[in-house]
Amino acid sequence: MEWASLCTQLLVGLSRSMILFIVSAGMSFILGVLRVPNVAHGSLYMIGAFSAFSIYTYFGMGSTGFWLALLLAPVVVAVVGFVAERLLFCHLYQREHLMLLLFTFALMLILGDLVKMVWGPKYSSIMPPGGLKGSISILGSAFPRYNLFLLIIGPLVAVFLWLFTNRTKVGKICRAAAVDREMVGALGINVSWVFAAAFVLGCYLAGVAGALVAPTVSITLGMDHDIIIEAFLIVTIGGLGNIWGALVGSLIFGVTQALGVLFWPQFAIVFPYAAVVIVLLMRPKGLLKSVW
């Protein structure tokens, strides 16, 4: 096996990990702070991709359209998330997890049908902007420029999340609420609004991932189901509710998949899942500390 192809393959895997990280970080954050296993998170990601498509089309399907879509689509998703939180979720936090799981599952089906009503069942597609089209050569192997862009965005999102949870008041309150929500309430903080903020942030991240993934895939119904299983696995192996766990989990998932494809292509599907099984056998509570 050539060194160059191993290297590109690793980079390709890492860039895929970035998308997975952004999705699962949002999901893990909601899980940690709100204690809601949000199955509808994948639907929000799908709405992000579809909104990105609409915004991109509205602004003339060019580079401007893409950048605006990347900025605005997450906002659309955040608004959807905010409405859902204030109308539905905020009444349900006291329920047991099974109820929440059923509720978010129902929400996933409803959002899926809503997407079908608004955008129809067609396959849609958007293009990366001018400078990010095509591929560059890394040690002689082709590597798509857009994936390079993902490799830059992913760490930026991670840094932003670190700053938010460690350097802002809201972020610190969120972390505190994740550990002990009664105590936070007892300190006179309006927990309800903290939850709303956390939920909206999680949804915003789903939107970012949806908009980011849009140029690399076909935007279609069913995206939600594809991503949610992977995101759940990542959140589980990373440690429930721990966003750094989500980062580690995504890296494991993306890289094992890419390398599996290179070394054993017939059975590539198995690799990331095998990695999950191994991690869970060795550390049943996930790699990093679970907040549960």
Binding site: R16, P121, A142, F143, P144, A258, V261
Partner: protein, 405 residues
């Protein structure tokens, strides 16, 4: 109490209404029951097929068939075998349909085919591409009006055997359709050109969003040509990944349906150029009067050009009408005798319902994706027509497969 009587009355009325309606329609017109997936992503194709079918029916019903009209009713299978099967049962038992038509899903088609055999109701498969439908699982009551995986694989093999490539890689969706196309293409390519070598295979899960790792891995193995066996939304994903990695410039690529309008249009001008594809229908090719008339009528009725499903829907209706006219009777057995070997004129020329296996004989078009000034999306260019007889698996092969079952 009053309320209960009211409800009972409404129920009784509705029951009467539904049943009388069914009986009345059954005795008068020829009824076609259509089961297909009208929800979720496959709905785009199902609707297109239905539109083609409706367009042909309008024309047929102007003069009628044996003094009757052909009517149809549709049911949504939701892409699920159990739902499709119960819908088909309902259409046979309650609606009393004379003919069943459907569906995009091969597994639904195979299940309904068994039912059609038991109930002795002719079943026309217009989109599902599994070669088992008219192959090993075929019988007297099932017909296919679409190309199948065996034909598609053969068509690709015929096209590729004339090219200089030796080292091949096969990759695709890890499900029945993908593997069936891959098997058929490879078996026939090996038969036509024994010196070809398969250096590797990769299979990804259906709907795998990111195919770039697969493509970069394939490129590092340096094959001469790659055969991708993908369908549905994976088509867009694989085309995007080909474009992003610049793969088409480095290795030859052949994909069944890569040159399809439904695949290329959403990608716009950014679809990769130079990808070889086989396809059973293009609205812009062949430029025959029949095809032009069909496209014109379809555009006038539905405001967009027909896709391949519309073509299959159209020929299905035409085959049904022509067979009834030839049989001169609405008797099912006479209808089947009449349709065996029946030839009709279609937008792609004269096509035949092969008598031995009830598989329609269709030509295939091998082309290469290309940018052209008159469209803002890519089209198939340098089209070579592979005649129907070259893409059909021989009858003996089919009969052997059926006997083995």
């Amino acid at each position: 109490m009053k309320f209960r009587v009211g409800v009972a009355g409404i129920v009784a009325f509705l029951t009467l209404f539904v049943f009388s309606g069914g009986v009345y329609a059954g005795s008068k017109a020829i009824k076609v029951g259509i089961i297909d997936c009208y929800s979720g992503p496959p709905a785009v194709y199902a609707k297109d097929a239905l539109n083609g079918f409706k367009l042909a029916l309008e024309e047929i019903n102007k003069e009628g068939v044996l003094g009757r009209k052909i009517e149809f009713t549709t049911r949504d299978t939701k892409f699920k075998v159990d739902i499709g099967l119960s819908m088909a049962k309902e259409l046979i038992m309650r609606e009393g349909v004379d003919i069943l038509v459907g569906t995009i899903s091969s597994s639904v088609a195979l299940a309904v085919s068994d039912l059609a055999y038991k109930e002795k109701v002719p079943f026309f498969v217009w989109m599902a591409k599994s070669d088992r439908i008219t192959g090993e699982k075929g019988h007297r009551y099932v017909f296919s009006t679409t190309e199948n995986t065996a034909m598609a694989g053969r068509a690709m093999a015929v096209g590729l055997s004339k090219k200089p490539y030796i080292k091949y890689w096969i990759a695709g969706d890890d499900y029945e359709y993908g593997h069936a196309i891959g098997r058929a293409a490879w078996r026939n390519l090996k038969r036509l050109k024994p010196e070809v070598k398969k250096i590797g295979e990769s299979w990804w899960k259906v709907g795998e969003p990111d195919l770039i790792p697969y493509l970069t891995a394939i490129m590092s193995a340096e094959p001469d040509a790659v055969i991708f066996c993908t369908g549905g939304r994976s088509m867009t994903n694989v085309m995007k990944a080909i474009k992003a990695t610049g793969m088409a410039k480095k290795v030859a690529i052949c994909i069944h349906t890569a040159t399809d309008h439904a695949v290329l249009k959403p990608l716009g001008p950014e679809a990769p150029e130079g990808v070889m594809g086989t396809m059973d229908y293009h609205f812009y090719y062949p430029e025959t009067p029949e095809n032009k008339a069909f496209v014109k009528a379809f555009r006038a009725a539905y405001g967009e050009p027909p896709g391949f499903p519309a073509f299959h829907g159209w020929i299905t209706a035409k085959f049904i009408a022509a067979a009834y006219r030839k049989a001169g009777s609405v008797d099912t057995e006479k209808f089947i005798d009449a349709i065996e070997g029946l030839k009709i004129m279609s937008p792609v020329g004269e096509i035949e319902m092969r008598a031995c296996d009830h598989q329609v004989v269709l030509p295939m078009f091998l082309g290469v994706t290309k940018k052209v000034p008159q469209y803002n999306f890519l089209i198939s260019s340098n089209i070579v027509t592979i005649p129907g007889k070259d893409v059909m698996p021989p009858c003996e092969e089919i009969m052997k497969a059926r006997k083995g079952k």
